[in-house]
């Protein structure tokens, strides 16, 4: 879905707050109709970036182009974009209907036409029609999400921005709303720009993902690319629990791993991000295996089973090896039968490991 015309382009955008550079020279092209997610930890500048795209903040430097027109000085109320806020920012002194119709009222749409559009939108976001006159403070968390969504959709914006709207919602409802949001994206065909601190959430919904770290956009790619080829240690660790082993390029193409006191076989250094002499070998917990015999995998490590954790469909094992605690994950039905403090051999294949820089 990444083909098509660029709808939103930012060039070298920087935002300075006093001494703090919240966003630092970010350039990005967002394609018409895609679901683009910006992921980063809190304080990485992703909200500031989004606010600049929405027109709620002016860039200190750089340009924002909407369909080729420079919109740096166009305020939020004059842009064909709409935002769903982290706090939702619903008008608590108004009813569900008044909230959804707000943008239409501001544009001077007649009462009857507003009502008609509102009814239509409440269907789209699956809100019961009798909520029309209900106060928004009387709605549940999930219902408030839907009101915020319908309110942002009301003026039929070209681009929808989402500022972590699901972060304050419990896990089950969040999973449900993620799927609904992706379906809504498909149904409306609009461009969605979403920010979150959860790469997992980004993976579920996005066509493309951009990773932000300290004000910079450090990697852009499809969820698959980000997952299989993380740019650096930061990106790989952001994916959730991974094994990161500090290594140095050693003799005969192998890597020295001082933490484990052994040599490891890894992908050739030329395939790493910058071919430096030191780096990290990243292995996902689900790529790790328990071995009966060291020859069963390209790499093997002896360790002792520290503990095991049941995680529903999967079981996670922590294995102490050298000064490292390695994580192995198995499907429940393929669980390893062992007890705490057992000596174990774990291993992985070269194809399942990635070499990344710091």
């Amino acid at each position: 879905m990444a083909e098509g015309a660029t709808i939103l382009r930012i060039e070298n955008v920087t935002k300075q707050f006093g001494k703090l550079r919240a966003v630092n020279g970010v350039s990005l092209d967002i394609v018409d109709g895609e679901f683009f997610t910006i992921v980063g930890p809190s304080g990485s500048g992703k909200t500031t970036l989004l606010r600049m795209l929405a027109g709620l903040e002016k860039p200190s430097a750089g340009d924002v182009f909407l369909r080729g027109n420079r919109v740096n000085d166009v305020p939020a109320n004059k842009r064909p974009t709409c935002m769903v806020f982290q706090s939702l920012a619903l008008f608590n002194h108004r009813t569900v209907g008044q909230n959804i119709e707000f943008s239409l009222k501001m544009r001077g749409v007649s009462r009857a036409a507003r009502r008609e559009r509102c009814v239509e939108l409440m269907d789209v976001v699956r809100l019961p029609q009798d909520y029309y006159a209900k106060g928004v403070t009387k709605c549940s968390g999930g219902e408030r999400q839907r009101v915020a969504l319908a309110r942002a959709l009301a003026s039929d914006p070209d681009i929808m921005f989402f500022d972590e709207p699901l972060s304050a919602i419990d896990y089950q409802l969040r999973k449900f709303l993620e799927v609904e949001l992706k379906d809504l994206h498909r149904e409306t065909g609009k461009t969605f720009v979403y920010i979150t601190h959860s790469l997992e959430e980004a993976m579920v919904m996005s066509d493309r993902i951009g990773i932000m770290q300290s004000g910079r956009l450090i990697q852009i790619g499809s969820p698959d690319e980000i997952y299989t080829q993380p740019l650096n240690k930061f990106v790989s660790e952001f994916m959730g629990e991974v094994n990161t082993l500090p290594v140095q390029a050693g003799t005969d193409g192998k890597f020295d791993c001082p933490d484990l006191g052994t040599q490891l076989v890894g992908p050739s250094p030329s395939t790493s991000a910058n071919g430096s002499q030191t780096g990290y070998l990243v292995i996902r917990p689900e790529s790790m295996r328990f071995l009966n015999d060291p020859s069963e995998a390209d790499n093997h490590i002896k360790g002792s089973l520290f503990n095991e954790y049941a995680m529903g469909s999967r079981v996670q094992y922590h294995v102490r090896a050298g000064s490292q605690m390695l994580v192995v994950e198995k499907l429940r039905e393929m669980a390893f039968r062992g007890s705490v403090n057992d000596d174990v051999i774990i291993g992985w294949d070269v194809k399942d490991s990635v070499l990344v820089s710091d």
Binding site: L56, P75, A76, C82, Q86, A89, F91, N92, H93, M106
Partner: protein
Amino acid sequence: MASTLDASPPPLPQPGPLRSFGLWLRQPGFLSASPVLLFFLIGFVGPLVIVLGFSFLPERTFGFHGDWTVENYTRILSDSYYISFLWSFGLATATVVCCLLISYPVSYGLARVFGRWAAPVMLILVIPLFVSENVRLFGWYLVLLKGGGILAGSVKWLFDLDTGTLLYSNGSTLMGMIYVYLPYTLFPTTLGLSLVPRDQMDAASDLGANRWQIFREVELPIAMPGILIGSLLTFVLAVGAISEAKMLGGANIVVVAHAILHEFTYAQNWPLGSAISMFAIAITGILVIFIMRRLDLDRLLGRK
């Protein structure tokens, strides 16, 4: 499972009316409020009842004897006393309007713009309140005094100009009232405005509202309880104002409080003074109840 949850509990036996009143009296809320309640009954309601009683007694009565009459109330309307009411309520309304016009921008600054300078600005606004109202008004009197006043004297000394004086005019009465009562509008308004969430204003802007629409649709409705409380306080206090008209207005006009004072002291007509008092209380009370019904205190205090 659901069926057991849906079953309604058996109805509780209803206590008789006398017993339920007894239960109500024994509530912890009532018990703990009773000392204050008693204090208010003796110190506040009691005297009011006495004043109410006096207002129905014939002219120049000093004890509870004589025939009940409503003559005092008819005199308020037939004699010129109603003019005092017009002045007091007119001046109070003007004070509220002016105070709101001045407060809103200042409140906006205190709540949004001044940032860490808000506290010092607030302090500057509060410090004069430590000085008694009469002393502060006397200060204005000295400033405005004709010829030798601080204002006129300074102008004379600096520019050798003879100026008139603003003193003893209705304008200076109003100015004095605005000066004295401004904090009562300002602080509740500031509280009200600080309750307007930043992101709701952002959202309104994002949804296409211009500055004026944000003010009308978001800012004003959310800040309204604070603005109403401020206006109410100012109005009630301003209706009872007396010093401004006497000191700065030179008693050009007789405000209600002045009229009451006059009847109780100089004219020695307690019943008429009582009737004017009750009349003022009634009008103000109706206004207060009317406004309070529109007000959601819980929301103002952030409980909702």
